[in-house]
């Protein structure tokens, strides 16, 4: 049996949904960061899948995915730094307490 484009897209959608759910509902900043990574991974899967099935002759999608992975790694670095900064300030890493933007 041959695995088609739809299976990859379905996987990406499930991952994205999981990430979205986590980003929206998790309390811990680390967990939210991880959920964001999940969503980024889902996007990368989409990129690779479209690259393999829609334009099989070109390698553009694969390289674009590599760049995206590097950028999300940097993102995670930046996010972790932010989490540490918040923790230093509030002695807590739960984002529910961070409501200073409340009007």
């Amino acid at each position: 049996m041959r695995v088609g484009l739809e299976a990859f897209l379905m996987l990406a959608a499930m991952l994205f949904s999981l990430g979205l759910y986590g980003a929206v509902s998790k309390k811990g900043a680390i967990q939210v960061l991880m959920s964001l990574e999940l969503m980024a991974v889902a996007v990368n899967i989409n990129l690779v899948a479209f690259s393999r099935f829609v334009t099989p002759l070109s390698q553009d999608g694969l390289f674009f995915t590599l760049f995206a992975m590097v950028i999300s790694a940097a993102e995670v670095g930046l996010g972790l730094a932010l989490v540490i900064a918040v923790y230093r300030r509030a002695h807590d890493s739960e984002i529910t307490g961070l409501n200073e933007l409340k009007g």
Binding site: S25, V32, I95, T96, L98, L101, K102
Partner: protein
């Protein structure tokens, strides 16, 4: 003879001086008006002696002084004074009587709180009369005429705290004002016809007047004189004028107010002679007045009212003389009457002052306590009754003679009848007051300042009659002693009246019960007590309709005019309330509504701003989902 100017101006200056003073000082400066009046009287004697031996023409002017007031339409309007025989006689009379009255008032008014003002008005009154007598033109005369009206108003209403004097002063002012209309009318007609108000011009141009003019002028002048000299039917103010202080009554009745009317007619008599009908009317009005005044005097109980009606009657006799075109007789009676009537009023003043009542029924037996007053009063009464050889006898006889020679035989009868009544009521007055049982305690003779003027006036009354031929000659008439026949008749009439009075009132020395007479002549007596219904008729004919009209106008004002004004106001109030409601509900409602709306919206929306990123995320998610659903549905 410029010093003649001082005669009228001295009392006038005294008035101004008193006017400028505060009340306290004014009450203490009474010597100023009295001194001014006495000097004025002295000057008048001197002025009289200047013309006394002359006696050429009644209207020959001895001295004239005039100043230009203005130029009206190219014609000079001059006011001036002139001095002739008539003026000399009246100056003398007025100043002497006024001086007596002022000296007398020192005693009579010495306790009044406003005596200063009283003396001031008295002076102004006299000053006005003196200027009127000296005026050489009708305009100045008219001004003084009105000034006297004002002064009489002030004097009659001197005790304005009481209702009687207040009403009497208004009545006097308004009644004489009707006559003043006549004078104004005459002034207008004269200026239209002659172009000048000077007596010389008026009387000089008289022959050239258009036919009706003289009649019109004479009617106006007669009306004026009737008002001022209290002739029927304008006599009603004079009895009421008794509400004023008694010396003021003496002045009004003798020297100033009422004399002005007679004087006016005497001055302008040629105009009357040019209008025979009016002259005849003067005679008739005088006759009616003489009778009415006499009859009403006979039923009065108030001492002053008796004298007041007596004045009306005597003025009527003067008018009869004028109606017979005799200036001399009228003026002579005016002069003698001035002296004896002021004497009687001053005597009445002493009686009232001492008895503290004016009702003769409450008096009696006063002779024993006040001999001087009694003697002078009896002299005055006898003169009024026309007893030989007092002044009243001569002047009345002269009038009878004049009427007789003028072939007004019925008028002679009227004068004789009036004399009979006069003698009767005078006798009644004397017996009731001076004889009979005493009813009042603490009677006393008047103060010397009150008695002295009376003695002087009585002396004048005693001797003045003998001046009769001289007086007539002085005024340019051929004078004579009264004819024996006429004198006998009039004396008999006077004695008859006195006898009648004695029969009724003096025979028994008890208080006379007149009820029997009243019952026997019920209708006549009732009519007389009601003052022959003059006041009643005026009340019904003039005052009631006037009040009714006034009520009508008041009603119109209250309902229509006030209604319109109030209605407009009410409408405006309504309009503003509507406008206020619009403001409060619509305008304010809109503004407040917007405020409330945004506040409520803000309150609702604030719930969304939790400050938590994840809730924002959820919103974004929901929005994206909705957007996606929309795309899907739309795409399908």
């Amino acid at each position: 003879m410029g010093w003649l100017l001082a005669i009228p101006s001295l009392p006038g200056l005294a008035f101004l001086a008193l006017l400028a003073m505060p009340l306290r000082l004014r009450n203490r400066a009474l010597w100023i008006p009295v001194l001014a009046m006495v000097i004025s009287a002295g000057l008048s004697i001197a002025a009289f002696l200047q013309v006394w031996p002359g006696g050429t023409e009644l209207t020959s002017v001895v001295w004239n002084y005039s100043w230009e007031l203005a130029v009206v339409a190219g014609r000079p309007l001059e006011l001036g004074l002139q001095f002739d025989a008539v003026a000399a006689v009246l100056l003398l009379t007025v100043t002497l009587v006024a001086a007596c009255v002022q000296i007398y008032s020192l005693g009579y008014m010495h306790r009044d709180a406003r005596r200063g003002w009283y003396f001031a008005v008295l002076s102004l009154f006299t000053s006005a009369m003196l200027t009127l007598v000296l005026a050489d033109n009708l305009l100045l005369l008219f001004a003084m005429w009105e000034l006297m009206g004002l002064c009489s108003y002030l004097l009659i209403g001197f005790w304005y705290e009481l209702e009687g004097p207040r009403k009497a002063s208004q009545k006097a002012f308004l009644t004489t004002r009707i006559g003043d209309l006549g004078l104004m009318f005459a002034l207008g007609v004269i200026y239209n016809a002659v172009g000048s108000w000077e007596f010389a011009d008026i009387l000089g141009s008289l022959p050239g007047w258009a036919p009706g003019v003289a009649t019109a002028v004479a009617i106006g002048l007669l009306l004026a004189a009737m008002g001022k000299s209290a002739q029927v039917p304008l006599h009603v103010w004079l009895p009421d004028a008794m509400a004023g202080p008694t010396p003021a009554s003496a002045l009004i009745h003798a020297a100033t107010m009422v004399a002005a009317g007679v004087y006016l007619v005497a001055r302008t008599l040629p105009i009357f002679e040019a209008a025979p009908a009016v002259l005849q009317a003067t005679l008739v009005i005088g006759s009616i007045t003489a009778m009415v005044g006499g009859l009403l005097a006979a039923v009065q109980h108030d001492v002053k009212k008796v004298l007041a009606y007596s004045t009306i009657s005597q003025l009527g006799i003067m008018f009869m003389a004028l109606g017979a075109a005799s200036v001399g007789a009228a003026l002579f009676h005016l002069v003698t009457h001035a002296f004896f009537k002021s004497l009687l009023f001053l005597g009445a003043g002493v009686i009232i002052h001492s008895a503290r009542t004016q009702d003769m029924r409450e008096m009696g037996g006063l002779a024993a306590h006040m001999p001087v007053t009694t003697a002078t009063f009896v002299v005055g009464s006898a003169a009024l009754a026309g007893v030989f050889p007092l002044s009243g006898f001569f002047s009345k006889d002269e009038i009878i003679t004049v009427l007789y020679h003028g072939h007004h035989y019925w008028a002679v009868g009227v004068v004789l009848l009036a004399s009979l009544i006069t003698a009767f009521y005078v006798t009644r007055l004397c017996f009731r007051v001076f004889t009979g049982p005493e009813q009042i305690e603490n009677l006393h003779e008047g103060h010397v300042s009150m008695v002295a003027p009376m003695v002087f006036l009585a002396a004048v009354t005693l001797v003045l009659g003998f001046a009769s031929p001289g007086f007539a000659e002085f005024l340019g008439h051929e004078g004579a002693w009264p004819a024996l026949s006429i004198a006998t008749v009039s004396t008999l009439v006077a004695l008859l009246g006195i006898g009648l009075g004695w029969w009724v009132y003096g025979r028994r020395s008890v208080v006379v019960n007149t009820r029997a007479y009243k019952q026997r002549m019920g209708l006549t007596y009732g009519a007389l007590v009601q003052k022959l219904y003059f006041d009643t008729v005026y009340e019904v004919v003039f005052i009631k309709p006037f009040m009714l009209t006034a009520e009508l106008f008041a009603w119109f004002d209250r309902t229509i005019i006030d209604g319109v004004v109030n209605g407009m106001a009410r409408g405006f109030v309504l309009l503003t309330s509507v406008s206020w409601k619009f403001d409060a509900s619509v305008i304010d409602g809109a503004v407040n509504g917007i405020g409330t709306l945004s506040r409520a919206a803000g309150g609702r929306l604030r719930g969304l701003q939790t400050g938590r990123l994840q809730s924002y995320q959820r919103l974004i998610l929901a929005a994206v989902v909705v957007f996606m659903l929309y795309l899907v549905v739309k795409g399908a």
